[in-house]
Symmetry: C2
Subunit: 392 residues, 2 copies
């Protein structure tokens, strides 16, 4: 396996665990008395501790962003962008990627044991807002000896965390990269999330979220939720290019009552089924609600310019032209508000047929823009590569 | 009630029933030995029998397109466009609107009794293609003494029937109005239909389609299917204008773990629940499959120009700019192929924020375009209003 690891990979990585015993007061008013964060790191923290980057994950993401877990042949979810010589260059930066609280990747969430009841939290896990994740991440920074992040980076829901960081801890963020995100969701976006939640909650196996006690999982509901998500993360044109109307089986000739199946149908069902056995339903409910609730400027008189006036970092805002779930118009609202607030902002709309998923996929212009911004960030902070590398 | 009927309404209408005893050989190879069609008519058939219009319904439509059923205070689904002085002017035209076979509005479909088993057909109802509907509609025309339709008109799946008519019976159609339709569905469209079907079929109450025998209905699955449909029939901007992020209950203040609900959430759930008790799940499966299968040019070497070369009628093709489920690009493909085939075609892309649903809603330019085309159709066929009416 080791021999198969590419030269520009961060290699084999092992998740770490941090325990927090100090209660975290949540936006909902409840307190999480203690919690665990699972995280991975790539690269080395420099002696000045000024080269750390925080990766914030999206709805179904986790801490495993780059490199390989021992025995796995698939790398982390953002391996294309994190590694030696890559836009998030681990020769220069110390990268921290965590699973958020409420998640199901090992950090404290609905599948964890509630110390008060000695049962899994399940649906009784407190409802979370993006700011709760930001506060819990700040404690992780404290633990790791990171006063100021060189950059906080996230796509989609991750971008919302990065923006919230810039407002909650303006002195602790030097750069903020907000990819395929939004100041707040549109009604259509909330509608898709609601439909996905409805698919889950109406699955009898969901049992009002207490499925763990019944030793079951709401597979079909989660599967439909994922299918909805999957369609909306791709672009119509991208789906057309990839699947068209190609058939998996059957045919259309007259005199044939066999079921006809298009490739897109079996592909989607496969994606749904795979997700339904690997992701926790209560986490899905909680994460989509946090997405719906997020409204960056709510406490700033609903004025994003006023909100961003509190930020002190440089921003890179990126959107993808075929992304209709987090459309370029949403990213432009972010960039416009930042400019109106006199902040340093670079904005790029990238051509891609991959829809919202484009933020995870190879794309030359996206890589160049990202690379240039991160290089500038490194230069401004006097961060140099820790090894001699022509690509660095 | 009668006094509340507007002057431009077709008034109180009573559905009629036609029985067909001659077997209908279906595209799937099976034969429907006998079937019933439920239909309504508005206006009067003239002595030449050249003023008849056929309305083809879409996925969840039925025969009740205009006027009021006795005791109802809501008119039919296309009442805005059918009536005295309206684009489909019942002072001039004799309008026939039927519920298609496979439907659940009273025509023979999955909820009907299969004479062979004396049980409801349920999931054993033969799979249908658009051409089967066209053939069954031709028999209804025969029964009503209509050799040639002045126009066949349909939106969405209804437009597919209208186009198929123009190819199957070129001598029996004078005009064809194809609204918000497509030559075939895109992969994304099939994907949405597949997800809706998956929501239904994974509902335990669906019981592989045999829910009637178990005296139950797959309410939650149908509800999620309708929610998916509903989101995609509206435009993102339209939803934003109508609902924005307005709350139904709860609030976002810190220290509040009450559930928050946006208006769009309760609206969608209400739509889903209402649909789930009024529409048959097997019909939904069958209708969406017919949509997926439809490919106008399949038997014409996949060449729509070659397909349309068989048509003899005039065409009006209409799309709506915010309709992303049946996007203007799909209607342009129809119009382009018609022009390449040297057919008479008018094409209009109408501005609307209502998405796919726009074809059902008031819209001045749409009404004008529609009105003008129908007026020309009437003039060409020497059809005059049967009463003196300044608006006619």
């Amino acid at each position: 396996m080791a021999s198969a690891i590419p030269a520009d990979s961060v290699g084999i990585v092992t998740p770490q665990q941090a325990e927090f015993e100090q209660g975290l007061v949540l936006a909902c008013g409840r307190t999480l008395e203690r919690y665990t964060l699972v995280y991975e790191t790539y690269g080395q923290l420099n002696p000045q501790a000024n080269n750390a980057i925080l990766i914030c994950h999206a709805l179904s993401g986790d801490h495993h962003a780059a490199g390989f877990h021992a025995g796995d042949d698939k790398p982390g979810w953002w391996d294309g962008y994190i590694g030696p010589g890559k836009p998030i260059d681990t020769d220069k930066f110390f990268v921290v990627s965590l699973n958020n609280i409420g998640g199901c990747g090992g950090s404290t969430g609905p599948t964890s044991i509630n110390p008060e009841t000695a049962q899994a939290w399940g649906p009784d896990f407190p409802s979370l807002r993006v700011r709760d994740w930001v506060h819990s991440q700040a404690r992780l920074a404290d633990l790791l000896g990171i006063q100021t992040w060189a950059a906080i980076i996230g796509g989609s829901l991750g971008g919302m965390q990065a923006m919230r960081w810039a407002l909650e801890y303006p002195d602790r963020v030097a750069n903020c990269v907000v990819i395929a995100s939004a100041l707040k969701l549109t009604a259509q976006n909330i509608a898709f999330n609601e439909t996905a939640r409805q698919a889950i909650s109406s699955d009898p196996e969901f049992r009002a979220g207490h499925y763990q006690e019944h030793d079951t999982i709401p597979r079909s509901g989660l599967s439909v939720a994922r299918m909805i998500g999957h369609i909306t993360y791709l672009s119509g044109d991208g789906m057309g290019e990839k699947f068209g109307r190609q058939l998996r089986s059957g045919n259309f000739t007259q005199g044939n009552d066999e079921p006809v199946e298009f490739q897109i149908q079996s592909y989607l069902r496969y994606q749904g089924e795979r997700f339904s056995t690997s992701f926790d339903a209560n986490t899905y409910m909680l994460m989509t609600r946090a997405l719906d609730y997020f409204d960056l400027a709510r406490e700033y008189d609903h004025d994003p310019v006023k909100a961003f006036s509190h930020a002190k970092c440089n921003f890179l805002v990126v959107s993808f032209d075929s992304d209709w779930r987090f459309a370029p118009a949403r990213s432009k609202e972010i960039a416009d508000a930042l400019m109106a607030a006199n902040k340093s902002v670079s904005y790029a709309e990238i051509e891609s047929s991959a829809g919202h998923d484009a933020f995870l996929l190879p794309n030359a212009r996206y890589e160049n823009v990202f690379h240039a911004f991160m290089k500038k960030a490194a230069n401004e902070l006097n961060i140099t590569a820790d090894r001699n590398d022509d690509n660095a």
